[in-house]
């Protein structure tokens, strides 16, 4: 699996998002109130709206174009809306954001829970380095 270093954890504002361009894709990195980081393709499953521009609340983001609410954990639309956007594995290591450049595949999705662990998105930042201690390089 190919990872890129997307910069320091605190480059993403809390309840905000940043984008990253890799291999022709735009990946949106979200940081929630509880300092978890998620990576989704920056395309709403509805009409391709840039999810990175939405309002982040709980573990969801609301697409700025037509207010679809996307679950950051699964990449799936919530409520009666149907559709999903691609997820990317993301880790925080020594205060740096490491993002896989290829999305989590359907096969990996179907794998048992323990096998999924290393690629699951939404790794808590505190697991590796408490965000409060990180300062911008």
């Amino acid at each position: 699996m190919t990872f890129v270093d997307a910069g320091p954890f605190d480059a993403i504002p809390r309840r905000g998002a940043r984008v990253l361009r890799a291999r022709g894709r735009t990946i949106a990195l979200f940081r929630t109130t509880d300092d978890r980081v998620y990576a989704l393709e920056d395309r709403c499953p509805h009409k391709g709206g840039p999810l990175s521009q939405g309002i982040v609340h709980g573990h969801c983001v609301t697409c700025p174009l037509h207010e679809w609410v996307i679950d950051l954990e699964s990449g799936e639309a919530t409520g009666p809306d149907e559709g999903a956007t691609a997820r990317f594995a993301v880790h925080i290591e020594d205060g740096r954001i490491l993002v896989a450049v290829e999305p989590v595949s359907a096969a990996e999705d179907a794998a048992p829970e323990d096998a999924k662990q290393p690629v699951a998105s939404g790794i808590a930042a505190s697991a590796d380095a408490p965000p409060t201690r990180i300062t911008r390089a």
Partner: protein
């Protein structure tokens, strides 16, 4: 609760307290020849009940007015004749929906037909407006078909239709209404979004896309100069200070005071358009120039170039003062009675930068021919020889509404005072995302007149609060960002390849 019956072939509609009591008035209409009888029970300028026989088409409209507690003082003289005689305003579009064929489009924003809505209601067992919105998207965009959708629900479900309560919570994160939240912010001096959520026991940790922008505005309005704006609680347009377009690019509209510009300014806009390869340049309905298709990364650079030519943000993207449209007025027009352009520029200089519950548009026309279309603006001025007529509460939006005449004042200085006071009253009392038109229909023109026209001291106090708020609001957001503020909003992250040899 409202009921629609067919009693021996006669349509009957009844709602609320249709008997009335000592404190109420009964408005009646009786046409024995046509077999039509209508009775409305009114107390304290509100409809308390209704009975309609023979002609029940306006039943849903009366019911809506009753449920919303709408002040009907200003439409009382025409009330019995139904919404058709009052104009488009205030009608929830709730008539004749039964007669429509299944292929009739109900929601124009999302292209949803009557047939699809009815099918969704029956097949998915939907009982509320919110459920219909979630499953079909009907009424979920501009909302102008809400009355029709509610009517379809009522017709399809009959007695099972659960009316949405007339006073709704702000959003599913709270049990409190907009008005209760605002009152708590003032009375308990709540100064931040987390404070409000803690104090009012929000059900979610950090709200949602509906409540957070509303709370941010209420706090900004309550504590000018003190509250620190939470940009993550603003819709993207107000965070990026441009209008997001369907392809994710942004539009840039520089402020052109009163719509008056110069060759030098036009040249600067043309230079920017060429330098950044702006795909579309368009004149807007509000007499400004729109640069469409700008990449987000380019925004701060475009703004820097525009600032160098003297431009500030036009706020075409915000729940804010948008434009002041003017005609050429006395200076050029043979019919002009006053300097409408000059007054428009003064109004725009006073009001630019102010945040509101919804967008706000102004206009000044130099004579009653009204070329600036002041009578479909939130605050419009029509100049006459003897002074200035002030009109409020209009819009040309999804439900066109002509303004109500507020008053006439003799001087331009007074126009500024009345304008500032009116805008401040709207800021302080309207609900988030409620434009001046529905706000005025809800509280009644009489109330607005009391506050702005009859109460001189109150008006001056409102005006003073508006000016105080403007001291903190009139900071050009474009210049700030061109100078580096919120740089992370506009720049993508740099990725460095980490693990293997493939290029990222």
């Amino acid at each position: 609760m409202s009921t629609k019956l067919k009693v021996t072939g006669i349509d009957v509609f009844s709602a609320g307290d249709f008997n009335g009591d000592e404190g109420s008035d009964a408005l009646t209409f009786h046409d024995a020849g046509r077999g039509v009888y209508k009775k409305l029970v009114v107390r304290d300028d509100r409809i308390r009940g209704a009975v309609l026989c023979g002609d029940t088409i306006d039943g849903p409209w009366y019911f809506q007015l009753m449920r919303d507690g709408t002040n009907i003082a200003d439409i009382r003289d025409q009330l019995l004749f139904g919404p058709a005689h009052i104009g488009d305003s205030g009608t929830a579009g709730a008539d004749a929906v039964t007669a429509l064929p299944d292929h009739a489009e109900i929601c124009g924003c999302n292209g949803i037909t009557k047939g699809r809505i009815v099918a969704a209601i029956t097949e998915k067992k939907l009982f509320t407006l919110d459920e219909v919105r979630a499953h079909t998207k009907a009424s979920s965009s501009c909302g102008s078909c809400t009355g029709l959708v509610e009517q379809l629900l009522a017709n399809t479900l009959g007695g099972d239709y659960s009316e949405s309560p007339s006073v709704k919570p702000m959003c599913p994160c709270t049990v409190h209404t907009h008005d209760e939240v605002r009152k708590a912010i003032r009375e308990y001096a709540l100064k931040s979004i987390p404070d409000v959520m803690r104090f009012l026991e929000w059900k979610t940790e950090d709200g949602c896309h509906k409540c957070r922008p509303a709370l941010n505005f209420y706090l900004l309005c309550a504590w000018p100069g003190e509250y620190r704006d939470d940009k993550q609680s603003r819709f993207i347009n107000e965070r990026a200070h441009g209008n997001i377009q369907r392809d994710g690019t942004y539009s840039v509209v520089p402020r052109i005071w009163g719509g008056v510009t110069t060759p030098k300014e036009l040249r600067a806009i043309a230079d920017v358009a060429e330098k950044y390869r702006v795909p579309t340049v368009k004149i807007t309905g509000g007499q400004r120039i729109d640069l469409l298709g700008v990449k987000k990364e380019d925004l701060p650079r475009i703004w820097r170039d525009l600032a160098a030519a003297g431009f500030v943000s036009g706020h075409a993207y915000g729940k804010a003062l948008r434009t002041v449209k003017t005609c050429v007025g006395k200076e050029w027009c043979r019919f002009g009675t006053q300097d409408s352009t000059g007054l428009g520029i003064r109004l725009e200089r006073m009001a630019w930068g102010s945040w509101h519950p919804h967008k706000v548009k102004l206009a000044v026309s130099g004579c009653p021919r009204n070329c600036a279309e002041a009578t479909i603006k939130d605050f419009g001025v029509v100049c006459v020889e003897s002074g200035y007529e002030i009109h409020v509460g209009g819009n040309g939006g999804m439900k066109v509404r002509a303004t109500d005449f507020l008053c006439k004042v003799p001087t331009a200085d007074e126009v500024l005072e009345y304008c500032g006071a009116f805008l401040q009253l709207y800021r302080e009392e309207a609900r988030y995302l409620e434009r001046t038109a529905p706000w005025i229909e809800r509280v009644g023109l009489t109330y607005v007149k009391q506050r702005i026209v009859d109460d001189d001291a109150g008006r001056r106090a409102l005006y003073a609060r508006f000016l105080e708020s403007q001291r903190h609001a009139q900071i050009d957001p474009w210049a700030e960002r061109a100078a580096g503020k919120d740089a992370d909003e506009f720049e993508p992250l740099d990725a460095t390849l980490l693990r293997d040899g493939e290029p990222a």
